[in-house]
């Protein structure tokens, strides 16, 4: 059976489990602790299916990583920051500047540009879901790794400053910025969700499978989720907005000495 088919079957089963969870949640007078609930759901997946949904994305990503593109090359020919084909710990260094594209790239963008430059795909041939899976596969080689995003190259420093400015930009009909929630009110809750600051490790759990949404989220997806929840239309994938915000958050997390969670993570 193909990985994709396996994933579909698994997800259908799980959506059901999540619904049951939700019913329990609304019937209780005390709110469930979101972390405990995530652990409970994770356990349930393992017991029921013997595998976590995130791991199926890893498998699918691996297949796609070794698939030949129109140029006849696989993604082994792409340098993700530590040399061609080196995946161990590569994600923990990103975003960084790449001389071959002349750009600062996060992992998702790097996958996207290598699929074009190295593998010869046209932009319109590249499916977002494939980039998600490949990103998850590569990130899995940085599971629990120490985050090491230290802007040094002038373009990295410029990207950091850009990210910081976007972080504080208040806009839209909800008058929000990332900073008002994730700095000023870090440690408090929106509804039941506790909010973290970059210095508390914000961003160290992506890519992750979110059981509440029954989807895999990369960092760019997660940023988009916050933008949409504050009435700002999400920026396009692989744009500097995503890269700059990611660089800013992970550079701050680096200063505070944080490591990634088990990747892909399992969360609400």
């Amino acid at each position: 059976m193909s990985v994709r088919k396996k994933r579909l079957i698994l997800l259908a089963g799980v959506a059901f489990g999540a619904l049951a969870g939700l019913a329990a949640y609304t019937q209780q007078s005390k709110p469930l602790d979101p972390f405990e609930e995530a652990m409970r759901q994770r356990q349930m997946y393992l017991e029921t299916f013997g595998v976590l949904p995130g791991d199926l994305f890893v498998e699918e990503g691996k297949e796609l990583f070794y698939r030949k593109g129109p140029s006849g090359k696989t993604l082994e020919e792409c340098d993700f920051g530590k040399g061609k084909g080196v995946l161990e710990g590569a994600y923990a260094l990103l975003p960084k500047y790449f001389p071959d594209t002349g750009r600062v790239e996060d992992l998702e963008t790097r996958v996207y540009t290598c699929m074009q430059r190295v593998q010869g795909f046209k932009p319109e041939e590249i499916k977002r879901d494939e980039v998600r899976a490949i990103t998850t596969y590569i990130a899995s080689f940085s599971s629990k790794a120490k985050i090491q995003v230290v802007p040094k190259h002038p373009q990295e420093l410029a990207m950091y400053n850009l990210g910081r400015e976007l972080w504080y930009t208040r806009a839209g009909a909800r008058d929000m910025s990332c900073a008002v929630c994730h700095d000023q009110h870090a440690g408090q809750r929106v509804r039941l969700s506790p909010v973290r600051s970059p210095r508390q490790g914000l961003g160290n759990e992506w890519p992750a499978y979110r059981f509440e949404e029954d989807k895999l989220y990369t960092m760019e997806d997660r940023i988009d989720f916050c933008y949409e929840s504050i009435a700002i239309p999400k920026p396009e994938f692989y744009s500097d907005v995503h890269i700059a915000l990611t660089l800013y958050m992970l550079a701050e997390a680096t200063k505070a000495g944080h490591s990634f969670e088990e990747l892909p993570f399992f969360t609400r």
């Binding site: 930009t169 208040r170 806009a171 008002v180 509804r191 396009e236 500097d240 907005v241």
Partner: protein, 185 residues
């Protein structure tokens, strides 16, 4: 009409921004790179949003009086002049994620346990009574939170048209009416 004004203002700021040098230009290019829908919202900040961004939400003291005055001037009132409406409808607006969405940050009806903690609890808010001053403050605060606390986390729901002046009065009733679940024991 208002949208046009905001847009015009955005364009104005854009002009100012470009004259502020290469960083601003680079920022705007990055925002444009996020696509037209994203850029439309991010580049039409009003003056208050731009100030809060510039000062990282801590306005210098000498800018505060004018800021508050300008925010006060944005408050509109119901044609009837009544600042306290129907608490039942107020509860709907309070709960609706697309309108008030107040539970995101505030406790209210003690039966609702899935509430945020970023704002102060509003449970028992009606203990302040219903004097003219309390009603007016509550109305104006909900319509435009920034008329009291510059750059507050709490958004200016009335100013942005998330709820109407009449719905604002309903929200006031939800907070102040002794029969509202916020105040019942």
């Amino acid at each position: 009409m208002r949208r046009k004004a905001v847009l015009a203002f955005g364009v104005l700021l854009l002009g100012l921004g470009l004259s502020q040098g290469p960083f601003r230009a680079r920022l705007e290019a990055a925002i444009q790179g996020g696509g037209p829908r994203f850029a439309q919202v991010m580049l039409s900040q009003d003056k208050a949003q731009a100030l809060c961004t510039q000062y990282r939400d801590r306005l210098p003291a000498d800018l505060v009086p004018k800021f508050l005055e300008e925010q006060k001037a944005l408050i509109k009132y119901p044609a009837s002049g009544k600042l306290m409406g129907d608490w039942r409808n107020g509860e709907k607006v309070f709960t609706d994620p697309k309108r008030g969405n107040c539970y995101a940050c505030h406790a209210g009806d003690p039966k609702e346990v899935a509430h945020g903690t970023m704002g102060p609890s509003l449970t028992g808010y009606g203990q302040r009574g219903q004097s003219e001053a309390v009603v007016r403050y509550t109305y104006e605060k909900i319509y435009n939170a920034w008329a009291f606390v510059p750059c507050s986390l709490m958004y200016r729901g009335g100013v942005h048209g998330l709820f109407t002046p009449e719905e604002t009065a309903d929200l006031v009733a939800f907070l102040l009416d002794p029969n509202s679940p916020i105040n019942r024991r």
